[in-house]
């Protein structure tokens, strides 16, 4: 159980970090739209071009990291299984 919880915590933390890093390691809130400012060649006005794109923010990072830490902490509630002593076989 102890090992299982630690593996689950590690996987959750790893997946969260990979998603956060892969979508740009954004240090603000999560975005589902990304705005890029463009310039109109005739009027020279700056205008937004909005693209639907998922960018994980610190809220996603927190939502993955905190349960991972909780799972890791819970793992201490379970005793580690004692290692079995090998019997020496004497011929």
């Amino acid at each position: 159980m102890r090992i299982g919880l630690r593996i689950a915590a590690g996987l959750l933390l790893g997946i969260t970090l990979v998603v956060w890093l892969a979508t740009g390691a954004h240090t603000g809130w999560t975005k589902t739209r990304v705005t890029t400012m463009r310039i109109d060649p005739i009027t020279e006005l700056e205008y937004p071009e909005i693209e639907k794109k998922f960018v994980a923010g610190v809220d996603v990072l927190g939502a993955g990291t905190l349960p991972a830490l909780a799972l890791f902490g819970c793992s201490y509630l379970f005793k580690s299984q004692p290692t079995k002593k090998r019997k020496d076989h004497k011929p």
Binding site: T27, G28, W29, T30, K31, T32, R33, V34, T35, D40, I42, T43, E44, L45, E46, Y47, P48, I50, V55, G57, V58
Partner: protein
């Protein structure tokens, strides 16, 4: 004699036509016209845009002081990158777009007009209505008059002139009842608004 009168009448009418203010329509089919709003917040500033711009400005390049007009922004077109924030922004506490679907600015006074070439700057005072609350605001506005450039934007389908309008000014959130309960340490009291607009006056 008749010929002279006819020529004089034609010249007078042409001069009058040239001096007449033009009506620029700001419903832009290219979707370039936009308003950008910015509020400071602790983690990151809330930056949003609105693209649903319409309205008309009557502008005379020879006499910019006579400018009149009204710009309308569809409140439902206000967009922020975060979906939860977007829901809150359109909701009752913030912009209440269901009850107040339009943000309007109607000019009432033009001052400090300076023209250089095709560029004019002025302080425009007008009635700004947000969430049904109307307040007088004065904004520094720059106008760029692009004569005969409408054809370039319409692939030659329409002839006419363009008027480019740019302005940045600030308003106070509480003045318009925009979530007055939200503490200023969470969301800034001041909202910075930037409008970038192009209007077209087709020649008939």
């Amino acid at each position: 004699m008749t010929k002279t009168i006819l020529v004089m009448t034609t010249v007078a009418l042409s001069a009058a036509a040239m001096a007449a203010p033009q009506a620029f329509d700001f419903k832009d089919p290219k979707g370039v016209n936009n308003a950008v709003f910015k509020l400071d917040a602790p983690l990151e500033a809330i930056n949003g845009t609105a693209s649903g711009v319409s309205g008309t400005i009557s502008f005379d390049a020879d006499d910019p002081e006579k400018l009149t007009g009204k710009i309308v922004i569809a409140a439902g077109s206000l967009t922020v990158p975060n979906p939860t924030m977007q829901e809150h922004l359109h909701g009752e506490q913030w912009m209440d777009v269901a009850q107040f679907p339009e943000i309007t600015f109607e000019s009432t006074k033009v001052a400090n007009v300076k023209t250089s070439g095709n560029k004019t700057t002025a302080d425009i005072t007008g009635q700004l209505t947000i969430r049904g609350v109307t307040k007088e605001v004065t904004a520094p506005v720059s106008f760029t008059y692009l004569k005969d450039r409408l054809a370039d934007r319409t692939m030659g389908q329409m002839q006419g002139d363009l008027l480019v309008v740019r302005t940045t000014f600030t308003i106070q959130r509480a003045d318009y009842g925009i979530n007055p309960k939200a503490p200023a340490d969470k969301v800034a009291e001041e909202i910075e608004l930037t409008l970038s607009l192009a209007g077209a006056a087709p020649k008939k």
